[in-house]
């Protein structure tokens, strides 16, 4: 199938991106930087075409559904939203540093999805419970929020690394250190902004899920493990926001909270399906 080949090309492109972003960290050639961004954009375009193709192919098989129906498709789509959100941040803040965190995440996710024998990569028909337009709204908003949180996580790690490096040096040494990385203030702002965007999207994702659950299962909230974990994630980021806005937490403390939040995101997305059972169990195959 064409979509599988295109996804393979995308995975390889992102692996190239990962290596390139690391290389860029050492050489810092602006021309090279532009080339990397070009490769990333090309990768995203191929990725978009691949997902579109997979969607089209599912119609040809007589199923006709958006590629969000199982773990393989979820990982591929989540990678897509993550690269998209990453590129927006790269342009907005004119910094490529976060690429070194985002592309390993994305490449591992996509390679794992393609290569793991436990993951079905065939296009499968949709079980009746998933046959709804809410699938798109619910899953896409959730994935966009996960991506925003992933960027926040990457920024938090960068922040903590810079903090350790910066501590013993003088201010002057710090300046000559790495102008590639955004300043501490900019990182702090990215951490907060992406959490704010992610929080809003996660709220919408939980709500669209509730509306759908009410329509499909007759109850907008069932305390199913996936639901409960999304709520836990929401609580953690709510704590982040309150700590920052009302207690004035900045820098290291909020970076740590953002990392905890992302751990909750990962558990909500993957851990629940692998380790717990519940209504969302169709996501694991």
């Amino acid at each position: 199938m064409i979509s599988s080949k295109l996804l393979g090309i995308t995975t390889i492109t992102y692996l190239v991106c990962m290596v390139s972003y690391f290389t860029y960290l050492f050489f810092r050639n602006p021309k090279f930087g532009k080339i990397i961004t070009g490769i990333t954009i090309a990768g995203l375009l191929v990725h978009t075409a691949a997902l579109g193709m997979r969607w089209y192919e599912s119609y040809q098989l007589g199923y006709g559904h958006i590629p969000l129906s199982n773990l393989y498709e979820s990982l591929m789509s989540l990678s897509w939203t993550t690269v998209l959100v990453y590129l927006i941040i790269e342009f907005r803040y004119r910094s490529k540093a976060l690429g070194i965190f985002i592309f390993p995440l994305v490449s591992i996710a996509m390679a794992y999805a393609s290569l793991s024998p436990n993951i079905q990569d065939e296009i499968e028909p949709l079980i009746p419970a998933l046959q709804s337009n809410w699938l798109t709204y619910h899953v896409m908003t959730c994935f966009l929020s996960y991506s925003a949180f992933a960027i926040s996580f990457g920024s938090s790690i960068t922040y903590l690394i810079k903090l350790r490096k910066a501590a013993p040096k003088s201010a002057a040494a710090q300046k000559t250190g790495d102008e590639l990385l955004p300043s501490m203030e900019a990182l702090d702002e990215i951490i907060y902004k992406t959490v704010a965007i992610g929080f809003l999207l996660l709220s919408i994702g939980i709500i669209t899920g509730a509306v759908w659950a009410n329509y499909a299962w007759g109850s907008y909230w069932s305390w199913d493990p996936k639901e409960t974990w999304s709520l836990i994630t929401w609580f953690v980021y709510a704590a982040f926001i309150h700590a920052r806005l009302t207690r004035g937490w900045r820098g290291r403390k909020t970076a740590v909270l953002s990392i905890i939040g992302f751990a909750a995101v990962l558990f909500t997305f993957l851990g629940v399906n692998f380790l717990l059972s519940g209504l969302h169990s169709y996501g694991s195959g």
């Binding site: 809003l200 009410n214 329509y215 409960t228 709520l231 309150h242």
Partner: protein, 464 residues
Amino acid sequence: MSAENKKSAFARIWNFLISIKLTIALLILLSAVCVIGTLIPQNEAPMRYLQLYSKSTYNLFSALGFFDLFHTWWFIALISLFTLNLIACSINRLPRIWRLMFHGATILDDGLLQGLALVKKFNLKKFTPQHEEQIITAIGNYLKKPSLIKNAGEWHFFSESGRYTRLGFYLTHLGLVIIIVGAIAGLLGFQGYMQIVEGQTSNVIQMKKSNAIKKLDFGVRCDKFEVSYYEGSQRPKDYKSVLTIIEDNKEVLQKTIEVNDPLIYRGIFFYQSTYGAAPDGSGSARIRLTQKDGGGKHELEVKVGSTASIPGTPFAIRANEFLADFSLGADGKAFSRSEQLNNPALNLTVLKDGTENFTTWVFARYPDFHGKGDRPFDIQLLNFEPTYFTGLQVTRDPGVWIVWLGCALLVVGTFVAFFTSHRRIWLRIEEKEGEFKAVLGGSTNKNHAAFAREFETLFKNLKS
């Protein structure tokens, strides 16, 4: 207790409730409790728990309510405290927000000046009424048309936008409280299950929690149930039930429901939930008979309880009994393990000239099983179309619209709180010894970087 003490007790409780530390503690506590509620399966049968945990652990968890954690009194108490905290914080902050919104300074004095992040000072050679107009236009283009207060030798311009965005987080918090109110209102509703065999009418609902029986004051008839499969596979594509509401012996509403498309009548939702073969084992079988003497094959349709003759032969076939999920009991008797079509089996008697020849079971899943003994036919069960029953989840939740209202407020409020800002611009011009000294000040409660850039542009505009 004296009035003084009472007051201080009240003040202490109040100070406890308005603390943001309490909020963060509650968020952490609620998260921890939720984690427990996902690690321990909820609302399972005691047998299942005893497989998972030792007897003493089971007793401990049971006493703590861990098996139905989200409905325990202490979980509800936590949520209540969280709600109180939310309301108290909102009340506590209101006066300050109100002041910022409606009694903000319109005159830039030195005290205010010190607190501003963005300040620019410059001198003007001339300041005429024409300049005044220009400044009003320039600031107006940037934010909103500024107000102007003139004192002796002083001009005070003030403009602001997004004043009401300061209320964004109130909307978010109000939304949350409304969601909780909606959830409480939902307790007035019910959740249950009803099962209707094709062609029959029922009004009996079995309640989910209590297993009590509730009767609706109208009937629901299942006209037809259908299950379709994806081509060439056993994967169900769709389950559909055609339902008719019957009230006072009249058909008032008909709808084909499927998963993701319920029937709604008088605030009661009927959801397609399960299905199965009707317990009476009725239905219609399609059978293939292969004559062992080479006399050919016959295919015929026979209903359970009736007889069909095999054309061109002295034989006839009678369908005695159908089992959806065939199994043999300890006593050697056949029975159906469930209502699901897991192992469809049909008991048949072959008749020759009206007298019984032999009786056998045939299985849809095992077409090559033909029983023992010397028989004139091999018989295969090609298909069995049972009389189905449809299983409906029946729900009434009067709070659901309140919940949606709360959700809408929460989303709008969060958007406003994060992505819109209250921006203010002051411009003071003083005449001193023929010179005009100008001070431009700006403040925003969010997105400082972007505001600073725009402030710079405005400053350049005003200077020229």
